[in-house]
Amino acid sequence: MANSATSAPKVRSFPKVEFTDSEAGALEFPSSKSRTYNYFKPAKLRATVYEDVTVDVQPDPERHLSQGWIYGFGDGPGGYPQEWTAAKSSDWHAFLDPNEEWEQTIYRNNSAVVRQVSLCLENAKRAGAYGNWNAAWQKFIASNLGAWMHAENGMALHVFTSIQRSGPTNMINTAVAVNAAHKMRFAQDLALFNLDLSESLDTFDGSVHKQVWASAEEWQPTRKVVEELTAVGDWAELLFGTNVVFEQLVGQLFRSELVMQIAAKNGDYITPTIVGTGEHDYSRDLGYTRALFRLLTRDEQFGESNRELFGQWLAKWVPPCLDAAHALQPIWSQPAEKTLTFADSLGATKEKFSQLLEEIGLDVPKELEK
């Protein structure tokens, strides 16, 4: 007791604030007003935040990188070699993501989707919305939406996450990384929706999706294309094959031209809200994909050879994607309420696909008419 009464108070130590007058404008001297990143030319008069935080963060020996890449692979150069794709560009840095994705947009947009999906699911439970689902629709969602979530997850991890190591600029790789995040979130949302349904409906089979994806006849050509896409080494072909061909001919066909169209008629107003977020993501992701491939087809130096190359990629990927699309035809007959035919859906899909190819500057492949 005596000790505590006599011990000296502890002296706190803290740094002293000093006013330094180091604000912008405190003095005038050379470069005192040089307040823009001056090592790149913005697309418009003033650089956007996106350009400021993205351009040239991944160095390039063709721009400012004077000592070259200081580590190499055992069998080739390091960094981001342009040879990692057969596509060519006279200036890869000309590509800017039309979505202008950087960290704030990533979290704002995806959080908005999370809130939308969460609210939708909460309301559905509160309203007992799944109670109206007939057996056929439950089976349809359990099997087919369940199978599709595997495709989304496969693309997230082994297509888009993979590509973003390989593009020659930061702008390309960051756009693709965001695409990966979309896919991963959407795949998980579908899986957690599946879990919700399992917990809400005694008759909902929450595990059948594994078997459907692994062995159901109608889904095997889709799984085959997804797996074959993940085996592609050329990053631009992988992006083209996935976002231009597979997502158009199979992804959109299933999500937009089937699920989104028929769910309401089958008493389901929840699934379109969730699948709609995936469609919204794809719309954004198609935006950057279209911009990139348009740039390559219009390249003054390499446009012609790129168009030829993309024609080869179309010839390679359109047939298996059409096979996958046709194999899915039986699922159009599974719901109780059949509001549209497979032919209608496929027709709309082909039309959108043709329009996309036209926007990119490519001929519609003959395989599409088969």
């Binding site: 007058d21 190499g72 996450t161 599946n194 993940t230």
Partner: protein
Amino acid sequence: MSRQSLTKAHNKITELSWEPTFATPATRFGTDYTFEKAPKKDPLKQIMRSYFPMEEEKDNRVFGAMDGAIRGNMFRQVQQRWLEWQKLFLSIIPFPEISAARAMPMAIDAVPNPEIHNGLAVQMIDEVRHSTIQMNLKKLYMNNYIDPAGFDITEKAFANNYAGTIGRQFGEGFITGDAITAANIYLTVVAETAFTNTLFVAMPDEAAANGDYLLPTVFHSVQSDESRHISNGYSILLMALADERNRPLLERDLRYAWWNNHCVVDAAIGTFIEYGTKDRRKDRESYAEMWRRWIYDDYYRSYLLPLEKYGLVIPHDLVEEAWNRITNKFYVHRVAQFFATGWPVNYWRIDGMTDADFEWFEDKYPGWYNQFGKWWESYNRLRYPGRNKPIAFEEVGYEYPHRCWTCMVPCLVREDLVVDKVDEQWRTYCSETCAWTDKVAFRPEYEGRETPNMGRLTGQREWETLHHDRDLADIVKDLGYVRDDGKTLIPQPHLDLDDQKKLWTLDDLRGIRFASPNVTLNEMTDSEREEWAAAYRANPNVCPA
């Protein structure tokens, strides 16, 4: 989300992966490690549904603080000595961050565990966040700090500067070579688990003491993601340890990664903390004291040492030698002296040290004044143009050092210099370990075993070679380190902006020839080289009284 439902949700998400039967994902980035016997476990139950709102909330706090800093005129109280070094640091760090994002598919390719792929992909998004949030912080500095020069040229300068190149290995090391060496051991097990403590915790602490509370705001937000990344790294490390064949590779990579991180990160962060601060309270921790706490105790003793129970040989000798270099061999101080010697080819200004600094250094690092005091007095004496050249070209008893071929920090601990002919070229190394890294570790064979996936040291590794025998004014002009009047240099060896006469211009550098030490070394005869090396090692490089 409750813990129980989190587990259920996570289990559900693991159902998304499948075993492919038609084709397997391309292996773009190989590894010499094997994972056939690896247990499959994912400690990181990360679900995007909770991840995005969590990060958005963190972002909102960061951006709120940024607004507050501007409204509260933070730059009235920021120390210029501190913020000038941020021109270097913030030019470097966004690249390692984005490289970490790019490294994730390498780890995914290499590790056949779908459960961990999810966590690695989330890390990818984190790293995009870190890179762009740091670029945005730098933009705020550029817009609001008194001297934007150096911030305005940031990524170009990073790509063409000797110090930028030293920092670049901290990013390139993540994305090149053996996928596990790069994306796991170098990036996660060593860089993130050990050295982000000094980078993202100790350094922001110092920023706050110098009036800058935005660096802590941004970097603590970044650091709060790192614990998840550390879990990713540890999981893969444990998987690798399950196979005896990986043991020699793990031990090789721990030695390389530990030593390279020490050489690079301690050089940079040590300098920023010790020479960028005005806070000279005696009870303020020195970099050495911070290092002891954050790296020696928290990392080495709490993380590395327990790995011995798995039979892994830990590089105790290198941990002790790093500590020895930081305390007894004045590593950080020699680096700071080198940065200041090379001021004309920097893109930031370096404040001279004062009596108050001398006293603090002597207290924290006994013997400091005898080694460095006179040199810093010369630095101050020679800080203005007109009557003298830049200090590197004046006789102050300082011999310009040779560069380490491996870590690219110069060979500053002179007695440890290694000289060897490798790949038909005479090279210098700062240490035996850096020599080993080039000659033994980064090769297609290691201890009699083929290691075709191991990386290679490439590029123009000696920066000075690019500019050999050129006029210094032309070099600086070509690098772009000139202000908007076309003649005043961005770098200055002082902080005085109030008088144009105190500012160095291209004219003050004209006529000075610049030489590459390595080119000169390769022109020597065997006997000349031996004599030179002996003299180099023996020279204490002390400024005469």
